[in-house]
Amino acid sequence: MSEPLIGRSIPRSEDRRLLTGNGRFVADIRLPDMLHMAVVRSALPHALVRAVDTAPARALSGVVDAFSATDIPEYLRPLPSQRPIADDGLRQLLLGSDRVRYVGEPLAVTVAETRHRAEDAVAAIFPDLEPLPVIADAASAQDASAGGLFEDQSNVVLEVVKDVGDWTGIDDADVIVEDTLRVQRHTSAPLETRGLVARPDGDGGLTIWGIAKMPHSLRGGIASFLGLPAEKVRVQPVDVGGGFGVRGEFYPEEILVPLAALRTRHPVSWIEDRREHLLGTNHSREITWMVRAGAHRDGRLSFLEATAEIDVGAYLRPLVPVIAEQASTNLMGPYRIPRYRCRAVCVLSNKMGIGTVRGPGRFEATFARERIFDLLADRIGMDPAEFRDWNLLEASDYPYRTGVQAFGRDITYDSGNPRAALRAAVEAVDTSEIERLDAEARARGKRLGYGIAPFIESTGAGLFEMARVAVEPPGTVVVRTGTTSMGQGHETTLAQIAADAVGVSFDDVKVMEGDPDGVPTGVGTFGSRTTVMAGNAVWLAGRQLRERLYTLDPGGQPLATILQEARKRGVSLDVSQEFRSEDPTYAYGTHVAVVEVDPELGTARLVRYVVVADVGRVVNPAIVTGQIQGGAAQGIGGALLEELAYSEDGQLLTSSFMDYLLPTAMDIPDIEVVLLNLAPSPRNPLGIKGAGEVGTVAAGAAVANAVADAMKPNGGAMLSLPLKPDRVVSTSSGGHSASP
């Protein structure tokens, strides 16, 4: 048989249609008699809802329907959730009913013949809102005088504590550093905004386009909420323009669009505009850390403790516990730390709610830890890389039991050598190179800074994924999973695995994701899990299919012929197989950032950026490299540019790309990716670890460490992101007193 495809940079099958304008994104869907939906959103961050009169909208010509909470009492329930939420009372209802709690919260829906008309209808509706005092941030939410966002309920809605080690004897630490660090509210902002098209079908059911991330559970949740059997809600896969975590949660529109279709008995399309996206698609990352760390004079760590205050916005959205667990466990990093404790506190505020965004809780935790470790190394008088080298785990430490749990399961790192990754990173940008770049910078009146940030992260979250691999006419191997691609190249990666497993060529395979009726069960795409979970399921299913093909025909006949033979003999060539894994895998590595800073203007430019990463076995190196480069660009954006800023009175100030700054081609250098492949994961047959978030997780830390290095000795401590120019030149010693 030919050379294996796993491990090769096969060009992507997705590319041809995407390059020629033949992608099928949800906004491209055109159906006969399709209507357009628009959403009336609260202009106030906190208010009692007196009335939302939709009659003026319905009076406009071309407007087919308009409804608010009072029109749909039977649907006025909390939005569905993929995870059990302890307190129903803290969840968002389908439409704002008694109270609205963030600017942008949906109050009503209009449906019209054109999008223009639907928006005219929105403008005709004037919600009668009675303002309530605004709770602008997590700090004021915890003031004794602050009201509650929910009656008789504290604004502190969740607390998670991790604690390991013997805390007696921490006085033997020679050096202790204590500081407050802040990561700003930001989000993933994919280029394509959210959208849905729903079409009522003759049988009382619906077909929906625009579902992403978790097709089975979204379909199930929508069906259940609307009182339909699951099989009557069909999902048509679409191309998706990026996700990075924010899609596929139960937003109000996931229910409102199908509901509008059922009410009007027409197909209905809703496409979010960019302002709505920044207002009302999951925010994330806003964590204030109070960190304390101690070490011995020889560089050995003594303890690390922190409180993480997470501003979760106005409702307890389903993925908040994930962020709290990730933040409070990932702070530990790939290190040997004798004593560790972290308390994560989730606090409400009158802002949009949060969800998981690439490297959730981990971008924030890695920033806090690595910045503090640089400060600690500096206080000891030790080189930052040497300090890490002393304390990083190495191969002999594995499997490494951290002693903490996440969601009730022990966190044990499966395989790896973080110390080797650090050394590879240090070699990638060596001393002579730094000296050369430093001289060049000085000649331009700039200062050079060098920063490193080791990281580790859980990837390949369980619990299972199912793959269905079948030979179908005219002789194609069709692979079906409940995952969805949002740019990661699953069609190609999963085809490589299937082709090797079954023993056919790449062109014989077709991958179809995202249809919950195509495969009996599934979980979805998040947490860098698709290649790990679906990939291994495809491998297992494919191997079984290979055996069946072999028993029918050991001689290597074309698939079309074997298919006929199978039919004659009543042998099924349709295999569904689940892969189960209780524990995630652990990718790890080190980022290196080299920056040139203008000491007067405070502007920072990346001169070199290196990601050294071990993601286990790599199926398609080009795809993995691309994912890491893109991830690093997002992380750099978070370090330097991006912020979702709210005013004191709860208005979002950054509601367009003029204010929410995404990095451009001028802001991102060539991201150099070094894939180590030292430690395949023992937790799955193919040895794969996830790679999708590895580029992002340590970027805030590496860039901040580099900028701080550049601005020594008299610059700011770079304890608050983003590193806007005024913060960079600020001479205050603490991040919390830098300008807002």
Partner: protein
């Protein structure tokens, strides 16, 4: 302002198009809705992201910021003119080889910007290319592979 439809005639991808459009109809919406050329995408509708970039009389233009009536008499090129899935243009092949796209949403806009650069090898340095695509946002690739693709297409493959 009147909403009375206005007659326009223009050339799109070499074909004559005649239509009646409201003055407020953007060129982007006209291309996507009336002409069903959905390869041009809308990422922000306020002229920042560049996903909607098309060529109007050879210049790269944000079609979300232009009205269809302003394109009356013009020669418009969209991504659909470049190639088909079975016959990719060399620019598109360069993107496949370099891995210059992931989700593909920004890609048509970037291709149009690259097309507007012409075939001038002098412009094929990394810094020239980065400057040219500085107004096309991409959230997936981190830009390196995009630059490599355009550099190859412009005829200079230094491999640096």
């Amino acid at each position: 302002m009147t909403m009375e439809p206005v007659r326009i005639s223009l050339t799109v991808n070499g074909n004559r198009a005649h239509a009646e459009v409201e003055p407020r109809r953007t060129l982007a919406d006209f291309l996507r809705e009336e002409l069903r050329l959905t390869g041009t995408h809308l990422g922000c509708e306020h002229g920042v992201c560049g996903a909607c970039t098309v060529l109007v009389d050879g210049d790269a233009v944000r079609s979300c910021l232009m009205f269809a009536v302003q394109a009356d008499g013009a020669d418009v090129t969209t991504v659909e003119a470049l190639g088909t899935p079975d016959r990719l243009a060399s620019l598109q092949k360069a993107f496949v080889e370099a891995g210059g796209l992931q989700c593909g949403f920004c890609t048509p806009g970037i291709l149009m910007t690259a097309l507007a650069m012409g075939h001038d090898p002098d412009r094929a340095t990394d810094s020239e290319i980065r400057d040219a695509i500085a107004a096309n946002l991409c959230r997936c690739t981190g830009y390196s592979s995009v630059v490599r693709a355009i550099r190859t297409a412009l005829g200079q493959d230094s491999g640096v």
